[in-house]
């Protein structure tokens, strides 16, 4: 067996796994398809302590009903229980999923619909097969194939996503700017000091904002992660903009939100430029080598 056997084994095994995964999904046998997905409702929100832990999320009490037994459960987000709840108000709906018949293994989720067909693992296996083919082509026929093989799809994906993302971001900013703001306040600044994998001490801080919507919902939320918060202090008053009907998408700093949006667009354009350039360079090199 020469070295081609290794990528053949890689692609064959992963291709088989992908086929099995797609087959299981078609047959409705994946774990994701069997998972029970329900919507719970926040019944109580506890105000965080200043200086407390930021990793546990906003403390909430949630009630949900198991559709198979009809039994109602009251739970809290204590310990390892799925996605962190960073924005909460009484009455807010939150996604909950758990294995059938085991509501005690509940997990909170930000997106109840995500991955419900169980196609993630087989699609990832297909991606790995593609990577194996590109690497084989790059070793066998020259490294420009790697530029074309990886740069091409990345450039296409970025180019396809960019206009839609840009449109949505502009629309969101327009809605936020047009919304009537409400006063908010920093009710706590959560701090974490921990050691990372290298043993270095790492610290972080997260301000917690409280505001009341025009509809009367008292919202407690972590300061948006994409915005600079080093100047935000405990007890500081803020002006909060939020889209009507979705207080979770609030921003306490509209100007910073616009700067962040421009930065995001710049990053996306740079990524598009890099991937497209790599693809073009790969194609040119291949053409030159073919001409020789």
């Amino acid at each position: 067996m020469n070295w081609h056997g290794i990528p053949a084994l890689w692609c064959g095994a992963l291709g088989l796994l992908a086929l099995v995964g797609y087959g299981r999904s078609l047959a409705g046998m994946t774990r994701a398809q069997r998972t029970v997905r329900v919507t719970g409702r926040i019944e109580r929100v506890r105000e965080p302590r200043n200086g407390g832990s930021e990793k546990d999320g906003i403390a909430v009490v949630v009630r949900f009903q198991d559709p198979s037994s009809g039994e109602e459960f009251t739970v809290t987000n204590d310990g390892d229980c799925g996605d962190r709840i960073t924005t909460a108000w009484v009455g807010r709906e939150v996604g909950i999923h758990y294995p059938p018949g085991r509501p005690h293994l509940f997990r909170f989720t930000d997106d109840l619909q995500a991955g419900r067909r169980g196609l993630g693992p087989p699609t990832f296996a297909v991606f790995l097969v593609y990577c194996g083919l590109v690497v084989t082509a790059a070793i066998d026929r020259g490294w420009p194939w790697a530029l074309v093989g990886f740069g091409g799809p990345a450039a296409v994906a970025t180019a396809r996503a960019l206009p839609g993302d840009r449109r949505r971001a502009r629309s969101r900013l327009d809605v936020l700017a047009a919304a009537v703001p409400v006063p908010g306040r920093v009710i706590a600044v959560l701090r974490t000091v921990e050691t990372d994998a290298d043993g270095d001490v790492r610290s972080s801080r997260t301000p917690v904002v409280a505001f009341t919507t025009h509809e009367g919902s008292a919202v407690t939320a972590y300061y948006p992660s994409g915005l600079p918060d080093s100047a935000v202090t405990y007890g500081q008053d803020l002006t909060v903009h939020y889209p009507p009907g979705d207080p979770a998408d609030f921003t306490p700093d509209l100007a910073a939100e616009r700067r962040s949006d421009r930065g995001g667009v710049g990053c996306a354009v740079a990524a598009l430029g890099v991937t497209a350039s790599a693809t073009v360079a790969g194609v040119v090199l291949l053409c030159l080598s073919a001409a020789d």
Partner: protein, 389 residues
């Protein structure tokens, strides 16, 4: 007093399983590591791939084997109870989450109270909430109460119960602790690792040691002008200059002599060029140091191989010895020995050359009945049979 609840496996079974798994894990780790290294050294891709894939396969098998136990444990609904803090010790740390050693008396709604010790990280801001004599809400799997966790955010119902509860003394409460670690797992794992390495090295000892011992140092091979030694796959080196050939003896081949014009290999006792791969290995050895490796004739007998290399500027028709169908040759020899009317073959000889234009293989077999001849082409197809007469 130390007690455990549920029905854990008998201690002897648990110890046996732990030691067996340690031995197997060590063996797989050692075997995989050795397979990776030996695969690279002897140039066997399948062995290298085996070394690469073995840990993954073993991990997958371990994962699958553990599924029933995990499913059983996941099906157990955790129990929530009140607990009184008998004592606690906060470890010194600059981190915001401090490891706290708790000593609790747990009073479940069903069953007797018990004491348990465990460590849990508590945020420094929340530390004042935990003090001796206080009442906490805890949660634990009923079959493994040593996996106790404090519920930092209890539901309103349990919060009220904890607020209204008074810590009860429970003298004589049983102390619950996790089953003791099985001793010697590390040693057994190390033993398994050594065994795994030894197994792979022993399986491939011929490729590793005999080949390595027989391979000549490249400096002496090129310096003397004669490749001396025995072993296939010798490292390529500059073409040797004409010089007196010096025979040597190895454990694999009795004699191997290579000069600028010819190469000869004599097999050791009990070995035959009729064996699968033996002829190819010998040819590889004789031609590995030559570039180009063209020959004008190849003669093989039961234990003797002789190759006449093409002289520089010679006009004799030449061929690449590696063109011969080595995988077919043992079968052709057997066919010649059995199909040419020689009932008790005493000797055989294979001659390959290009004197007739195309590369031809002639196998002659001699016995009491005379000499028979079988001719084959470069693909190993039989062209002609001349029975003994």
């Amino acid at each position: 007093m130390t007690t455990t609840t549920g029905r854990p496996p008998a201690r002897s079974t648990r110890v046996g399983l732990a030691l067996g798994r340690g031995l197997l894990t060590g063996g797989v780790a050692g075997g995989a590591l050795a397979a990776l290294i030996v695969g690279v050294v002897v140039g066997k891709v399948p062995l290298f791939v085996t070394g690469l894939g073995l840990p993954f396969v073993y991990g997958l098998l371990l994962f699958l084997a553990g599924r029933p136990r995990r499913a059983r444990e996941a099906a157990v609904v955790p129990r929530t109870a009140l607990a009184a803090v008998e004592g606690l010790h906060v470890a010194e740390s600059a981190m915001s989450e401090r490891p706290v050693r708790f000593d609790l008396t747990v009073t479940p709604d069903e069953g007797p109270a018990f004491r348990v010790e465990f460590t849990q990280d508590i945020n420094v801001v929340d530390l004042p909430d935990y003090r001796p004599g206080g009442v906490l809400v805890v949660r634990y799997p009923p079959d493994r109460p040593w996996l106790m966790r404090i519920v930092k955010r209890p539901t309103p119902e349990w919060e009220e119960r904890a607020a209204g509860a008074r810590p009860d003394a429970a003298p004589g409460a049983a102390r619950v602790s996790a089953p003791a670690e099985v001793r010697g797992v590390g040693f057994v794992g190390f033993l398994g690792l050594l065994l795994g390495v030894a197994a792979v090295v022993l399986l491939f000892r011929v490729d590793l040691f005999e080949r390595g011992a027989a391979d000549p140092p490249s400096a002496s091979a090129s310096g003397s002008g004669a490749g001396v030694g025995a072993g296939a796959g010798a490292a390529p080196a500059p073409a040797p200059a004409p010089a007196p050939a010096t025979p040597t003896v190895s454990s694999t081949w009795s004699t191997r002599v290579v000069s600028a014009g010819s190469g000869v290999i004599v097999l050791g006792a009990g070995q035959s060029f009729r064996s699968d791969g033996e002829l190819r290995r010998a040819i590889d050895s004789l031609t590995a140091e030559r570039d180009p490796r063209s020959a004008i004739a190849l003669v093989a007998q039961e234990d003797l191989l002789s190759v006449a290399f093409s002289p520089t500027g010679g006009k004799t028709p030449e061929f690449d010895p590696l063109e011969l169908p080595y995988e077919r040759i043992p079968a052709l020899i057997e066919e010649a020995r059995s199909s040419l009317g020689v009932h008790a073959p005493q000797s055989w000889q294979l001659v390959a050359d290009r004197l007739a234009g195309s590369l031809s293989i002639r196998i002659s077999v001699t016995g009491p009945e005379g000499t028979g001849l079988l001719e084959a082409d470069v693909e190993g197809r039989v062209l002609r049979r001349t029975p003994a007469s």
